[in-house]
């Protein structure tokens, strides 16, 4: 498990530069480490002079660097940087607040304390959950198959679905979950392939020859795909494979296949530029190639 990787319980890292030797204990993140250091010095979180633990924290972070991945290390570095700032400013415990820089550092300190305290509260809650879980794990629930006479007494089952619905359910469940994708959807939107949608349109139109745009988009799962399909139609039009009929403005758009009877290879450019969906205006400007 990723979290315990850094634990390397008992592993010693030798910081030859300062002659400082640290032993990596089990910790689950920078706050956890900080709390452990503070408690090691028997200091109260709310009053601790952080510079006392800054050096040790840095030493841990340095040792961690070789064992942990970039993500993990950066979290530690962030806290380490804050600690360093505070130490450098010698703000603690009582400093005269004169300029804005000092104020900012005070804020940084308070924020760090606040987050640390919050984490400490959850850590205690977690240890309570651990106790509950440990005792819960020692009890097994009754869960056995129904005795035959009761199984037979069950009312006749209504499946309530047909083969198609069952297939749809299977597809839904088997489709990769969005969960592992990590919530970056808002950063870079899903890409759709205009080329693939052009191929879909080609196959549909070869079969039906003529169809409304609405019908051609009937199986699109979201607006992005509809847009991709529209762009694909424009590409096909450029290639002279389709013709459009529209009786009146904003009326039904009818698409006719004019590309012959054989499935042809399509030469459609992908839209490699910014995602098709709307993005914040500030990021849309600029010379992104299309």
């Amino acid at each position: 498990m990723a979290e315990s990787r850094a634990a390397a319980d008992g592993a010693a890292a030798d910081d030859s530069a300062s002659g400082f030797t640290v032993r990596l204990d089990n910790f689950t993140g920078p706050f956890d480490l900080l709390l452990q250091l503070i408690s090691k010095h028997k200091l109260d979180v709310t009053e601790v002079a952080l510079h006392q633990v800054t050096d040790e924290f840095l030493a841990y972070t340095r040792a961690l660097g070789e064992a942990a991945d970039l993500d993990e290390t950066s979290e530690f570095l962030l806290v380490a940087a804050t600690l360093l700032d505070l130490k450098a400013a010698r703000l603690l415990p009582a400093a005269e607040v004169e300029d804005e820089e000092d104020l900012a550092l005070l804020e940084a300190r308070d924020l760090l304390f606040a987050r640390l305290l919050q984490y400490q509260a959850f850590k205690r809650a977690a240890s309570h959950l651990a106790e509950l879980h440990a005792s819960g794990a020692r009890r097994w629930p009754r869960a056995v198959t129904l005795e035959p006479r009761f199984a037979q007494a069950l009312p006749e089952l209504v499946l309530g679905v047909g083969p198609q619905r069952l297939a749809a359910l299977a597809a839904k469940v088997l489709r990769p979950k969005p969960v592992p994708v990590v919530s970056t959807d808002h950063v870079h939107q899903l890409r759709v392939s205009v080329r693939e949608h052009a191929a879909v349109l080609r196959d549909k139109l070869l079969r039906h020859r003529t169809a409304s745009f609405r019908a051609l988009c009937g199986d699109c799962r979201n607006m992005l795909e509809v847009v991709a399909r529209f762009l694909a139609l424009l590409e096909l039009y450029r290639e002279g494979m389709v013709a459009f009929d529209q009786l009146r403005a904003l009326g039904e758009l009818t698409v006719r296949w004019t590309g012959g009877d054989e499935p042809v290879e399509l030469d459609v450019d992908e839209y490699a530029g910014p995602p098709l969906r709307d993005r914040p205006a500030s990021r849309q400007s600029g010379g992104d190639s299309t």
Binding site: R115, Y119, R139, R142
Partner: protein
């Protein structure tokens, strides 16, 4: 879950005899495979909920007093038979399904944040713990301890909450039984963290 004629006085087929009521409850508890609410039991037995509730409590106390191998417990909003915790070493030899793996410290901390702040996003959990929690969340999802609870309207980020499995595994009847966080939280946290205020308010309620 069916409602049944719960709480009504003696419709058809109710067993007035206390001994029979208790025996009927025991028989039913033997076939359930998830916690069953008092309401459902009362409906099936055509007895007032209070009576059923009292009988279940008595049975549970009796099993414990007699040191029986089974334990009738309230969990996740219902009643279910469990093996008594002290006898785990014996039961373990029969139940070898590897489901009993311990949760890591990271998983427990993440679970605690979800339990107290639900529904909550991953980034919010990561902020509290100071580390990325994606891997841990996946573990908790796979073990059925947390589940998705829609998305946050503003950001579209997935929200997570604890499940009934969580309650049952921890032996809790409801989330209200989680200890209050308030005594553990500093007073001045509110000013810095808007979520903390909500949390304290929630924690203060119980």
């Amino acid at each position: 879950m069916s409602q049944g004629p719960a709480g009504t006085d003696q419709p058809s087929g109710g067993s007035a005899d206390p001994a029979e009521l208790r025996a009927a409850l025991e028989a039913i508890m033997l076939v359930v495979d998830e916690p069953v609410s008092e309401t459902v039991l009362a409906g099936v037995l055509a007895q007032p909920v209070e009576r059923v509730s009292a009988a279940l409590g008595e049975l549970s106390a009796e099993y414990t007093a007699a040191g029986r191998g089974f334990d009738l417990r309230q969990a996740a909003g219902g009643w279910r038979l469990y093996t008594r915790a002290e006898l785990a070493p014996y039961v373990e030899r029969f139940v070898l399904d590897g489901q009993q793996a311990r949760l890591t410290q990271a998983a427990l901390e993440t679970l605690a944040v979800v339990a107290y702040k639900q529904p909550v996003t991953r980034s919010r959990i990561s902020a509290v713990r100071g580390v990325n929690c994606d891997g841990v969340i996946r573990t908790l999802l796979a073990r059925g301890l947390v589940e998705e609870a829609g998305t946050e309207p503003e950001t579209g980020a997935y929200l997570y909450r604890t499940t009934n499995v969580f309650l049952e595994k921890l032996g809790l009847d409801s989330l209200d039984q989680l200890p209050s966080l308030a005594p553990l939280l500093p007073d001045d946290l509110e000013a810095l963290d808007p979520d903390a205020r909500r949390m304290r308010e929630r924690a203060d309620v119980d």
